[in-house]
């Protein structure tokens, strides 16, 4: 009798349980989060400390006399080699490069993916394979041939030059992403539009484009972060007047006039990383999808 009375008849919502395993998982997550946040915290703290505090204090210590002077300096007056305009020219260069290269590469890849998915022709599968293979070619191999080709047409070291380079290198992975997205749409949609008399561009603009907003968001995130974080192409192809922020940052950090000014370096680094960081915070789950889409090659 007593056993039967004590047993709880299962009914209604299942009661939640906080097991030892759960607690362990949460503890691990909290520790991991702290571990990965630590460098960021150190950077922010250091960027607000005067030099003597850095030399004399613990790196985890809070600033005694917090100041944003180093942020201002990093932005507008830190020296990159001989020029002392701070990061701001690099920021605007990066903005120019990104604003031009992201739409160019995405528009091209979208049309590519659409054509390769719906308008199959002799050899289109082969072309696609070659294009995807391009995603695996190490960039370094192509640097010199592209320098040569661009300088032959007078675009080496120019803004259009670096935009073209980013567009070309974005092509394999972006085409793959868009083709796979279009392949997931019902092909009957395409057939219906053809019966309705829409042509190559009609179907693309009126039917496919409005449907590809989600995948375009993914592609934009992928490209913005990729192009913003790029160092190699910017250094090699952009030319002195168009050096992106990442290259400027490198120059600031490496330009030493006596002592290393850690505060300025930290502030400059955070400023450079701010754009991808903002993209991440604003777009959350889309960002993760972008990374995942980029990771699934082939």
């Amino acid at each position: 009798m007593s056993v039967a009375a004590m047993a709880v008849e299962p009914a209604g919502p299942k009661p939640g349980k906080l097991t030892a395993g759960r607690i362990g998982i949460y503890a691990f997550l909290v520790v991991s989060a702290l571990f990965f946040l630590l460098p960021l915290a150190v950077m922010i703290l250091t960027s607000m400390k005067p030099m003597d505090e850095i030399h004399n204090g613990n790196i985890f210590a809070l600033p005694q006399h917090p100041t944003f002077d180093y942020w201002v300096k990093a932005w507008s007056s830190a020296c990159t080699g001989r020029d002392c305009y701070g990061l701001s020219p690099g920021f605007f260069n990066s903005v120019k490069i990104t604003v031009l290269a992201v739409p160019a590469s995405i528009a091209l890849a979208m049309i590519n993916g659409y054509a390769l998915c719906f308008w199959r022709y002799r050899g289109s599968e082969f072309l696609f394979t070659v294009l995807v293979f391009g995603a695996f070619v190490p960039y370094q191999v192509l640097v010199y041939p592209i320098i040569y080709a661009l300088s032959r047409v007078g675009l080496f070291g120019t803004l259009p030059g670096i935009v073209i380079v980013h567009t070309i290198f974005g092509m394999p992975i972006l085409t793959l992403i868009f083709r796979n997205f279009f392949a997931s749409l019902p092909v009957e949609l395409f057939k219906a539009a053809r019966v309705d008399g829409a042509g190559f561009w009609g179907i693309f603009v009126r039917i496919m484009l409005p449907m590809s907003l989600p995948i375009t968001v993914v592609a934009v995130i992928l490209q913005v972060t990729g192009i913003w974080n790029d160092f190699l192409f910017g250094l090699v192809f952009a030319g002195h007047d168009n050096l992106p922020m990442t290259v400027q940052l490198n120059n600031i950090v490496r330009t030493s006039t006596g002592t290393v000014e850690y505060s300025t370096n930290m502030a400059a680094t955070i400023l450079t990383g701010l754009v991808p960081l903002v993209v991440y915070f604003v777009s959350g789950k889309w960002f993760v999808r972008g990374i995942a889409a980029g990771a699934v090659k082939g």
Partner: protein, 368 residues
């Protein structure tokens, strides 16, 4: 234009289609009359949808010609063929309203605004989708979506309608409703309709003629009743009719100048069966009889052939009950009235008219 086919709407002449080494259609011929409702019926992979796509111009043929309303359209674009098409997945443009879906093709054809409005209005009246015109497809039920898809075909004002399994995504009840509606539509518009399905009920109820396909070849093209009553081969016989036809292996023999069919200890008099050509005695053959043609009790005794049999399994299906017995040592199913259904173990009298049966060659599977 081919000669002597002035009342033809769609002519498929020697059309073949290969995907690499795979022959999907094998020099196929089909002549659809004006205003006719043709159903292409067959199991998946038989090439029926492929044929429809070829007629629509969505697939390029590897060989042969296609004529629509007397015009050779073999190399024409889908929009120029004078066809409209309805798809299984509805294929409505998700970002457009119902009205936008209906008028998309007309806008592409640059029709004047008032003509577009007139046609959209007429189609939505016929299909009773006027209250839905401002909605997006996502806000419609499956049946409403397929109505809109049919409407999109209707506004094109063409002679030939192509349906690619239009009801397969709907539940059974809606499927029956829309089936009747499509039939009503055909009677009202009198367009030529070519309809692909794997559902034999749809085929039997809708078609003027059914083309039963297998392996890229039309096996039989005939009126539904003819296909049901006189299938040309064992495949067609087995594919049409549910529950399926019984097949009993045996041999053709002769007794007293009359042809007979022998299977085990059973001997069926075939003098009432009309042979395509009288086979010689001793030919191995398959005797096919439909479960609904097997009678029991007194009705069985009145049949030209009857025998004693015991019931092994009973499958109640509501409207009637399928009882499994045996004849000549082989399984034989029969449809019985659910109210008077036999029970397993019962000894009953079964009988049928060999004149309504089908006999096939055991080797070639062709009708004898």
């Amino acid at each position: 234009m081919p000669m002597g086919v002035t009342n033809s709407s769609v002519i498929v002449r020697e059309v073949s289609l290969n995907f690499g080494a795979v022959e999907v259609l094998k020099s196929l011929n089909l002549d659809v009359r004006k205003g006719e409702f043709i159903v292409l019926l067959g199991p998946s992979g038989c090439g029926k949808s492929t044929l429809l796509n070829c007629i629509a111009g969505l697939l390029d043929v590897s060989g042969g010609q296609i004529f629509i309303e007397g015009r050779n359209v073999t190399w024409e674009e889908p929009k120029d063929r004078g066809i409209a098409m309805v798809f299984q997945s509805y294929a409505l443009y998700p970002q457009m309203t119902v009205e936008g879906n209906l008028s998309f093709g007309l806008k592409n054809a640059r029709l004047p605004r008032d003509e577009i409005d007139r046609r959209v209005k007429r189609a939505s009246e016929i299909l009773q989708i006027e209250p839905l015109l401002k909605r997006k497809p996502a806000a419609l039920s499956g049946g409403q979506r397929q109505r809109v898809a049919i409407g999109r075909a209707l506004v094109r004002d063409v002679d030939v309608f192509l349906f690619d399994e239009p009801l397969s995504n709907l539940d059974a009840k809606l499927r029956n409703e829309l089936r009747v509606e499509i039939k009503r539509l055909h009677q009202r518009l009198a367009n030529t309709m070519i309809y692909v399905t794997h559902d034999q009920i749809e085929a039997m109820t809708l078609a003027d003629r059914i083309a039963v396909m297998r392996g890229g070849i039309i096996q039989q093209l005939d009126a539904p009743h003819a296909i049901y009553a006189r299938p040309v081969n064992r495949f067609v016989a087995g594919f049409i009719g549910a529950p399926g036809m019984n097949f009993i292996d045996g041999t053709i023999g002769e007794a007293g100048g009359k042809p007979v069919f022998r299977a085990g200890d059973a001997r069926i008099d075939l003098s009432r069966y009309s042979f395509e050509g009288r086979p010689e005695a001793g030919r191995k053959a398959v005797f096919g009889v439909r479960p609904e043609h097997v009678a029991t009790g007194e009705a069985a005794s009145a049949m030209p052939f009857s025998a004693e049999a015991s019931v092994e399994i009973v499958e109640p299906m509501g409207s009637d009950t399928l009882a499994w017995t045996s004849l000549g040592g082989q399984n034989l199913s029969m449809r019985a009235d659910s109210e008077k259904a036999p029970r397993p173990g019962d000894r009953i009298r079964i009988g049928f008219d060999p004149g309504r049966a089908s006999i096939f060659d055991a080797g070639t599977d062709m009708r004898l």
